[in-house]
Amino acid sequence: MHHEYNIVGGDFTRAGYASSQVKKILRNLDVDTAIIKRTVIAAYEAEVNIVAHAYNGIITLDIDADSIRIVLDDMGPGIEDIEQAMQEGYSTASDKVREMGFGAGMGLSNIKRNADELRINSEVGRGTQVEIVMYR
C-alpha cells in the first residue's frame, strides 16, 4: 500500500495532517496500538521539522506485511552536522517556530527513540531525507 502527502514549509495550521492520515490508515489495518503510537510520534516530529526548517517536502508511506516505511523528503537548507542536530537540546529554530511551541531540540531524539530504523541523509543547500522504518 502506497500513499503520498505534500508538505508546505511554514504552514503551522496544517502541520500534522499527514501524520494524522498515517494514524488513521494504521488503525484501519489493525496495527498494534503501541506500534501506531511510536510510528505517528516519529512521523509527526519529522513532518513538523519540514514545516519548521524546510521550504516544502513530500512524505511517502509504504506498508507491507512486515513493515511500515515512511520517507520524508524535503527541499530546504539541509543539515550541516547531523550528529550535532541529533543531540537533545540542539536547535536552530527561529523565534517564530519557538512561539509555535517547537524548538526544544528534542524532535530528532524523539524520532530515534521511537523508530525501529532511522536513516537521515542531508545535503546543505538542497534538502534532507529522513527514512523511518517500523516493524509490524
Binding site: 500534522g16 505517528v40 509555535m100 511551541g101 526544544a104 524523539n110
Partner: protein, 114 residues
Amino acid sequence: MRVGDIVNILDARIVCGGDRQEYTIDVAFASDLMSDVLTLKNDHVLLITGLANMQTIRTAEMSDIQCIVFARNKKVTREMVDLAIENDIIMIECRYSVFRTCGLLYQAGVKPIY
C-alpha cells in the same frame, strides 16, 4: 481525578467533550513545548499548557492525550474545536496562570509523571 473535578478546582470552562466529565486522569504534565510532550509514555495524562494552536491538538492526537487545560486565559479557535472533537479530546479553558493551575491541581492530589 475526574474532569468534572478539575473544572471545579480551576473554576474553568469545558469547551468540548462536556459529555465526558467522568473521564479520569492519572497524572499531569505542564509544558509549552510540543516535543517535550511527545516524550510521554503514560496513559490518561492531563496536559496543562499556555500554547493554544492547532499543533497543541495534533500533539495530543499523536500521544493519545485526551484532556488539555489551556491556561493563561487562552482561547481556542473553531478549527481547534473541530479537530479536538474529531479526536475525542476534552478541552478546558482556564483563566489562571500555568503556575496557579499546577499549584491548585497538585494541592488537590494530582500526581506528576516522573
